[in-house]
Protein backbone atom coordinates (compact mmCIF):
# COMPACT_ATOMS: atom_id res chain seq x y z
CA UNK A 1 0.00 0.00 0.00
CA UNK A 2 1.35 3.37 -0.97
CA UNK A 3 1.12 5.22 2.31
CA UNK A 4 1.72 8.75 1.06
CA UNK A 5 -1.50 8.62 -0.96
CA UNK A 6 -3.71 8.30 2.10
CA UNK A 7 -2.64 11.59 3.65
CA UNK A 8 -2.70 13.35 0.28
CA UNK A 9 -6.14 11.94 -0.46
CA UNK A 10 -7.57 13.14 2.84
CA UNK A 11 -6.15 16.58 2.17
CA UNK A 12 -7.56 16.64 -1.35
CA UNK A 13 -10.99 15.64 -0.08
CA UNK A 14 -10.82 18.21 2.67
CA UNK A 15 -10.00 20.87 0.08
CA UNK A 16 -12.92 19.79 -2.07
CA UNK A 17 -15.17 20.34 0.93
CA UNK A 18 -13.63 23.73 1.60
CA UNK A 19 -14.11 24.75 -2.02
CA UNK A 20 -17.72 23.60 -1.93
CA UNK A 21 -18.26 25.77 1.13
CA UNK A 22 -16.72 28.75 -0.65
CA UNK A 23 -19.03 28.22 -3.65
CA UNK A 24 -21.99 27.93 -1.32
CA UNK A 25 -21.10 31.12 0.52
CA UNK A 26 -20.74 33.07 -2.73
CA UNK A 27 -24.00 31.66 -4.09
CA UNK A 28 -25.83 32.53 -0.86
CA UNK A 29 -24.61 36.09 -1.06
CA UNK A 30 -25.71 36.32 -4.69
CA UNK A 31 -29.11 34.81 -3.99
CA UNK A 32 -29.71 37.12 -1.02
CA UNK A 33 -28.98 40.09 -3.29
CA UNK A 34 -31.00 39.00 -6.32
CA UNK A 35 -33.03 42.23 -6.04
CA UNK A 36 -30.32 44.64 -4.93
CA UNK A 37 -29.73 47.31 -7.56
CA UNK A 38 -26.27 47.19 -9.16
CA UNK A 39 -25.20 44.12 -7.24
CA UNK A 40 -22.80 42.00 -9.30
CA UNK A 41 -22.88 38.23 -8.85
CA UNK A 42 -19.58 36.77 -7.63
CA UNK A 43 -17.87 33.40 -7.57
CA UNK A 44 -14.83 32.19 -5.60
CA UNK A 45 -11.38 31.96 -7.17
CA UNK A 46 -9.11 29.08 -6.23
CA UNK A 47 -5.34 28.92 -6.46
CA UNK A 48 -3.89 25.97 -8.37
CA UNK A 49 -4.64 22.91 -6.21
CA UNK A 50 -1.53 20.96 -7.10
CA UNK A 51 0.82 23.83 -6.40
CA UNK A 52 -0.94 24.46 -3.11
CA UNK A 53 -0.59 20.89 -2.02
CA UNK A 54 3.05 20.60 -3.01
CA UNK A 55 3.84 23.83 -1.22
CA UNK A 56 2.26 22.47 1.93
CA UNK A 57 4.27 19.26 1.69
CA UNK A 58 7.47 21.23 1.35
CA UNK A 59 6.94 23.23 4.50
CA UNK A 60 5.51 20.64 6.86
CA UNK A 61 5.26 17.06 5.70
CA UNK A 62 2.58 15.07 7.50
CA UNK A 63 1.43 18.10 9.44
CA UNK A 64 -1.75 19.52 7.97
CA UNK A 65 -2.78 22.80 9.48
CA UNK A 66 -6.50 22.49 10.26
CA UNK A 67 -6.97 26.24 10.01
CA UNK A 68 -6.51 26.07 6.24
CA UNK A 69 -4.28 28.81 4.81
CA UNK A 70 -6.28 29.12 1.58
CA UNK A 71 -7.57 32.71 1.50
CA UNK A 72 -11.13 33.31 0.37
CA UNK A 73 -11.25 35.57 -2.64
CA UNK A 74 -14.07 36.17 -5.05
CA UNK A 75 -14.37 37.74 -8.44
CA UNK A 76 -17.33 38.95 -10.45
CA UNK A 77 -18.82 36.22 -12.58
CA UNK A 78 -17.49 36.86 -16.08
CA UNK A 79 -19.92 37.55 -18.93
CA UNK A 80 -22.81 38.10 -16.55
CA UNK A 81 -25.70 39.98 -18.09
CA UNK A 82 -27.09 42.90 -16.13
CA UNK A 83 -30.77 43.65 -15.89
CA UNK A 84 -32.16 47.16 -15.97
CA UNK A 85 -31.34 47.74 -12.31
CA UNK A 86 -27.72 46.73 -12.91
CA UNK A 87 -28.10 43.42 -11.05
CA UNK A 88 -26.41 40.36 -12.61
CA UNK A 89 -27.74 37.63 -10.34
CA UNK A 90 -29.65 34.81 -12.00
CA UNK A 91 -31.79 33.02 -9.45
CA UNK A 92 -31.75 29.65 -11.16
CA UNK A 93 -28.03 29.71 -11.76
CA UNK A 94 -27.34 30.33 -8.08
CA UNK A 95 -29.71 27.57 -7.00
CA UNK A 96 -27.98 25.18 -9.39
CA UNK A 97 -24.58 26.20 -8.03
CA UNK A 98 -25.82 25.47 -4.53
CA UNK A 99 -27.10 22.04 -5.47
CA UNK A 100 -23.78 21.20 -7.09
CA UNK A 101 -21.74 22.49 -4.18
CA UNK A 102 -23.89 20.53 -1.78
CA UNK A 103 -23.44 17.40 -3.88
CA UNK A 104 -19.65 17.76 -4.12
CA UNK A 105 -19.54 18.35 -0.38
CA UNK A 106 -21.53 15.20 0.39
CA UNK A 107 -19.43 13.19 -2.05
CA UNK A 108 -16.16 14.19 -0.37
CA UNK A 109 -17.66 13.64 3.07
CA UNK A 110 -18.72 10.12 2.19
CA UNK A 111 -15.29 9.28 0.84
CA UNK A 112 -13.59 10.76 3.92
CA UNK A 113 -15.85 8.90 6.31
CA UNK A 114 -15.09 5.64 4.53
CA UNK A 115 -11.36 6.38 4.55
CA UNK A 116 -11.27 7.14 8.26
CA UNK A 117 -13.23 4.00 8.98
CA UNK A 118 -10.75 1.89 7.01
CA UNK A 119 -7.72 3.44 8.68
CA UNK A 120 -9.29 2.97 12.09
CA UNK A 121 -9.88 -0.67 11.25
CA UNK A 122 -6.33 -1.11 10.04
CA UNK A 123 -4.97 0.39 13.25
CA UNK A 124 -7.09 -1.80 15.48
CA UNK A 125 -6.22 -4.92 13.52
CA UNK A 126 -2.49 -4.29 13.20
CA UNK A 127 -0.36 -7.03 14.78
Amino acid sequence: MNTIDDAALVEALRQQMTKSVARQVAASGNLANVDTPNYKAVEPTFADTLKGQLAMKATKPNHINPASPAPGTVREIPDAVARRDGNTVELDRELLTMQRASGDFAQAQTALAAKFKLVRYAISESK
Partner: protein, 104 residues
Protein backbone atom coordinates in the same frame (compact mmCIF):
# COMPACT_ATOMS: atom_id res chain seq x y z
CA UNK B 1 8.62 14.24 13.11
CA UNK B 2 5.26 13.44 14.68
CA UNK B 3 3.35 10.40 13.55
CA UNK B 4 0.63 10.73 10.96
CA UNK B 5 -1.89 7.92 11.42
CA UNK B 6 -2.61 8.07 7.72
CA UNK B 7 0.89 6.97 6.76
CA UNK B 8 0.11 3.80 8.59
CA UNK B 9 1.58 0.79 6.95
CA UNK B 10 5.20 1.64 7.58
CA UNK B 11 4.63 3.58 10.77
CA UNK B 12 4.45 0.74 13.22
CA UNK B 13 7.30 -1.12 11.60
CA UNK B 14 9.59 1.88 11.26
CA UNK B 15 9.13 3.08 14.83
CA UNK B 16 9.82 -0.38 16.14
CA UNK B 17 12.83 -0.82 13.90
CA UNK B 18 14.30 2.52 14.84
CA UNK B 19 13.89 1.64 18.50
CA UNK B 20 15.24 -1.86 18.12
CA UNK B 21 18.26 -1.02 15.99
CA UNK B 22 19.00 1.98 18.15
CA UNK B 23 18.79 -0.18 21.24
CA UNK B 24 20.85 -3.02 19.76
CA UNK B 25 23.52 -0.67 18.40
CA UNK B 26 24.09 1.06 21.70
CA UNK B 27 24.45 -2.28 23.44
CA UNK B 28 23.97 -1.02 26.98
CA UNK B 29 20.73 -1.06 28.95
CA UNK B 30 20.77 2.71 29.23
CA UNK B 31 21.15 3.06 25.45
CA UNK B 32 18.23 0.72 24.89
CA UNK B 33 16.05 2.63 27.30
CA UNK B 34 16.84 5.95 25.68
CA UNK B 35 16.07 4.65 22.16
CA UNK B 36 12.74 3.35 23.25
CA UNK B 37 12.20 6.48 25.27
CA UNK B 38 12.81 8.50 22.13
CA UNK B 39 10.26 6.44 20.24
CA UNK B 40 7.69 6.94 22.97
CA UNK B 41 8.53 10.61 22.98
CA UNK B 42 7.73 10.79 19.29
CA UNK B 43 4.36 9.22 19.97
CA UNK B 44 3.57 11.80 22.63
CA UNK B 45 4.67 14.56 20.27
CA UNK B 46 2.26 13.29 17.67
CA UNK B 47 -0.59 13.14 20.15
CA UNK B 48 0.15 16.64 21.41
CA UNK B 49 0.28 18.01 17.87
CA UNK B 50 -2.96 16.50 16.61
CA UNK B 51 -4.66 17.34 19.88
CA UNK B 52 -3.60 20.97 19.62
CA UNK B 53 -4.68 21.10 15.97
CA UNK B 54 -8.06 19.65 16.86
CA UNK B 55 -8.54 22.15 19.67
CA UNK B 56 -7.70 25.02 17.36
CA UNK B 57 -10.03 23.74 14.67
CA UNK B 58 -12.92 23.11 17.05
CA UNK B 59 -12.50 26.53 18.63
CA UNK B 60 -12.55 28.02 15.16
CA UNK B 61 -15.75 26.17 14.40
CA UNK B 62 -17.40 27.39 17.61
CA UNK B 63 -16.35 30.97 16.96
CA UNK B 64 -17.59 30.73 13.37
CA UNK B 65 -14.18 31.65 11.98
CA UNK B 66 -13.46 28.10 10.86
CA UNK B 67 -15.32 25.43 8.94
CA UNK B 68 -17.16 22.54 10.51
CA UNK B 69 -15.57 19.93 8.23
CA UNK B 70 -12.07 21.14 9.13
CA UNK B 71 -12.87 20.61 12.80
CA UNK B 72 -14.32 17.16 12.21
CA UNK B 73 -11.32 16.07 10.14
CA UNK B 74 -8.95 17.39 12.81
CA UNK B 75 -10.85 15.44 15.46
CA UNK B 76 -10.61 12.27 13.40
CA UNK B 77 -6.87 12.74 12.99
CA UNK B 78 -6.54 13.21 16.72
CA UNK B 79 -8.49 10.04 17.39
CA UNK B 80 -6.56 7.99 14.85
CA UNK B 81 -3.24 9.29 16.15
CA UNK B 82 -4.23 8.32 19.65
CA UNK B 83 -5.34 4.85 18.61
CA UNK B 84 -2.23 4.27 16.58
CA UNK B 85 -0.03 5.55 19.38
CA UNK B 86 -1.59 3.19 21.89
CA UNK B 87 -0.98 0.26 19.54
CA UNK B 88 2.62 1.25 18.96
CA UNK B 89 3.23 1.89 22.63
CA UNK B 90 1.99 -1.57 23.46
CA UNK B 91 4.30 -3.13 20.90
CA UNK B 92 7.20 -0.98 21.99
CA UNK B 93 6.72 -2.08 25.56
CA UNK B 94 6.58 -5.77 24.69
CA UNK B 95 9.56 -5.44 22.32
CA UNK B 96 11.49 -3.68 25.10
CA UNK B 97 10.66 -6.37 27.58
CA UNK B 98 11.62 -9.04 25.07
CA UNK B 99 15.01 -7.47 24.48
CA UNK B 100 15.61 -6.96 28.19
CA UNK B 101 14.99 -10.66 28.75
CA UNK B 102 17.74 -11.64 26.32
CA UNK B 103 20.97 -12.85 27.83
CA UNK B 104 23.81 -10.38 27.20
Amino acid sequence: MPLDPLTLSNATGSVLNRAKTGGAASGTGAGLTSSFGEALGKLVEGIEQTSADANTAVTGMMEKTGDVHDAMIALQREELTLQLSVQIRNKLVSAYQEIMRMPI
